[in-house]
Amino acid sequence: MLTTARFWRETPQRYRMEAGRCTSCGKVWYPPRRICGECKGREFETVRLPDEGTLYTYTVIRVAPTAFVDQAPYAVALVDLADGTRIMCQLVDCEPEEIELGMPVRLEFRRILGEGEAGMLAYAHKAVPKR
C-alpha cells in the first residue's frame, strides 16, 4: 500500500519532473542518484525534464494490480523525452488502436490513484497524444 511518507519522498520527481544532471559527464538521471552510473561522479545539478517527447514502446494493461483494477484497460508507455531521457508513465486520452510507436506526446499532471484500499490519493505525470 502507498503510504504518505513513501509518496512524499518522490514528490519532486512526480510533481515537477526533477532529475539529476551529472556535472562531470552530463548524463541526466531520473530519478536523481547519488553516484553517476556512467562516470561515478558525485555532483549533480537539479534539472526539470522537458514535457514533450515521443512514444518508444507501450502496452495496454488488461489484467491490473488490485489498486488499478478500476482503471483497466489502460496504456503504460516508455516515452523518450525531448532531451533524450526515457521515462515510464501511463498514456491516456486515446484509444488503444490510436497508439503508434514514435507518436509525439506531451506530459500532463494527472491523478494516478484514488484514495481507498490502495492507500492515499496520488498524482504524477501521464503522457497524452500531442494533437
Binding site: L2, R6, E10, Y30, P31, G37, Y56, T57, Y58, T59, V60, I61, R62, V63, A64, P65, T66, A67, F68, V69, Q71, Y74, V76, A77, L78, R86, I87, M88, C89, Q90, P96, L101, I112, A122, A124
Partner: protein, 385 residues
C-alpha cells in the same frame, strides 16, 4: 578452487496445492534430492525464495526449512534475487563447496504462491520491478515484458506468431514431462486467440502461478565419485550478473545484458561456447523472454530468436533443444524454486533419464535463470563428469 558436482536432484509436487504449505513443499523436494544423491546428511543449506513475506507472510526461510528437515543446527541461508533466487542459491552453494567451506550442501528453492488471490500475486511479483517508477504507474510484469516484446518486434520484425510458437513448443515438451503443471498441448490458434493480458501478450504467452519446491545436493567432484548413488554431473561454469532494475534505464530494451554477461563468465569458466551445448533450459516467464534469452546466450544472432523458433531449431530434435522440460510455461513457475528446477532438468538430461523428451547423447547443458525484467541473471553449465 575445487571442482563441484551435482549428485542428487529432487522436486516436490507442483501446482495449485491448497493442502500443502511452504515448509512442507521444500521438505518434500529436499528429501527427494537427498534420496537421489544417496547421502544421509548435509552440512549446510541455501534456499531460494522470492517473497515468502508477500505470498505467505513467512520470512526467515533458511531456519524454517532446516528446522523442518530436522537438521538444525547446521547453517541455512535464504537467497533472494526475485525469480532468480534459486539460481543465486545454486551459485552460492557452489561457492561454499569450491572454496572448501563445506563438502555436502543442500541447495534449492521454494515458493508458495496460491495463498493470495490474483491481484495479490500480481502485486507481490510487481515488487521485483522498480516500485516507485514502474509499479507506481500500474504496470504489471506481463506489461513490462509486453513493452520489451513490442520494442523487439519493432526493431527486428519478430512476429506475434513467433512468440506464440514458443508456447506451442514448450507445451509440446511439457506433454512429455510427467512433472509438468500444464502438460496439455496448445496450438498456435489457441495461443493467438487466448485472453489478452497486456498487449501484445496473451494469457498463453505467460507462465503460470505455481506452488512448488526444487532441491539438489552438491559436493566436491572428488568426493562425489565415492559417495554418490548415480554418476555425478560436473558443474563446469557459473556466472551471475545484474542490470538496471527499471526498464527506462536500459541502454537497449531489446537485449538482456545481464544474461549475456553471466553467460560470458560461465562460458569462459567452462571453456566452451554456445555452439558446444546439447540442451538448454531458459527462463521463459513469457514467450518473448525465451526469444530474448536465446539471443543473449548467443544461441542465435541478435534479432534471430523468432525465426529460429519458427524454423524448429529449438524444438526437441532441432539444432539446440531449448526447454525440454516444458519450461516455466508448461512445467510451472514457483518463482523462488525455478532456478534449481532448471538444474534438475539438465541433470536429468545428462543422466539420460528424461524419457520421451531425452536429447540423445546429451553431454553438456546450460541453465539460465533471471529475476525481474532481467535485472538479475544466473547461468550455469553442467557436463557429464
Amino acid at each position: 578452487m575445487r571442482d563441484v558436482a551435482v549428485i542428487g536432484v529432487g522436486l516436490s509436487a507442483w501446482g495449485e496445492l491448497w493442502d500443502r504449505s511452504l515448509r512442507d513443499l521444500f521438505v518434500e523436494a529436499a528429501l527427494n534430492a537427498v534420496e537421489d544423491a544417496g547421502v544421509d546428511s548435509v552440512e549446510a543449506i541455501f534456499v531460494g525464495c522470492m517473497t515468502g513475506g508477500l505470498f505467505a507472510q513467512q520470512e526467515h526461510i533458511g531456519a524454517l526449512v532446516a528446522d523442518y528437515l530436522g537438521v538444525a543446527p547446521i547453517p541455512a541461508t535464504r537467497t533472494e534475487s526475485a525469480c532468480a533466487s534459486a539460481g543465486a542459491a545454486f551459485r552460492t552453494a557452489l561457492m561454499a563447496v569450491d572454496s572448501g567451506n563445506h563438502d555436502v550442501v543442500l541447495v534449492g528453492g521454494v515458493e508458495k504462491m496460491t495463498d493470495v488471490d490474483g491481484g495479490g500475486a500480481t502485486a507481490a511479483l510487481a515488487a521485483a520491478s522498480d516500485q516507485e517508477y514502474e509499479a507506481f504507474h500500474g504496470v504489471t510484469f506481463p506489461g513490462l515484458y509486453a513493452m520489451m516484446a513490442r520494442a523487439h518486434m519493432a526493431k527486428y520484425g519478430t512476429t506475434r506468431e513467433q512468440l506464440g510458437l514458443v508456447a506451442v513448443k514448450n507445451h509440446e515438451n511439457g506433454s512429455k514431462n510427467p512433472h509438468a503443471q500444464f502438460p496439455m498441448k496448445v496450438t498456435l490458434e489457441q495461443v493467438l486467440g487466448s485472453v489478452m493480458v497486456a498487449d501484445p501478450l496473451r494469457i498463453l504467452d505467460c507462465s503460470p502461478i505455481t506452488d512448488g519446491a526444487s532441491a539438489a545436493v552438491v559436493c566436491p567432484l572428488e568426493m562425489a565419485e565415492k559417495i554418490a548413488k548415480k554418476a555425478p554431473v560436473r558443474v563446469t561454469g557459473s556466472g551471475q550478473a545484474t542490470d538496471s532494475i527499471a526498464l527506462h534505464q536500459r541502454k537497449d530494451l531489446t537485449f538482456l545484458e545481464s544474461t549475456a554477461a553471466a553467460a560470458a563468465r560461465a562460458y569462459d569458466m567452462a571453456g566452451c561456447g554456445p555452439g558446444d551445448l546439447d540442451v538448454v533450459e531458459v527462463h521463459d516467464c513469457f514467450t518473448i523472454s525465451e526469444i530474448m534469452v536465446m539471443e543473449a546466450l548467443g544461441l542465435v544472432e541478435k534479432g534471430q530468436g523468432g525465426p529460429a523458433v519458427e524454423a524448429g531449431e529449438t524444438a526437441l530434435g532441432g539444432r539446440i533443444p531449448v526447454n525440454t522440460s516444458g519450461g516455466l510455461k508448461s512445467k510451472g513457475h514457483p518463482v523462488g524454486a525455478t532456478g534449481v528446477a532448471q538444474i534438475h532438468e539438465i541433470v536429468t538430461q545428462l543422466r539420460g533419464e528424461a524419457g520421451d523428451r531425452q536429447v540423445a547423447g546429451a553431454r553438456r547443458g546450460l541453465a539460465q535463470n533471471m529475476g525481474g525484467t532481467g535485472a538479475s541473471a544466473t547461468v550455469h553449465i553442467l557436463e557429464v563428469a
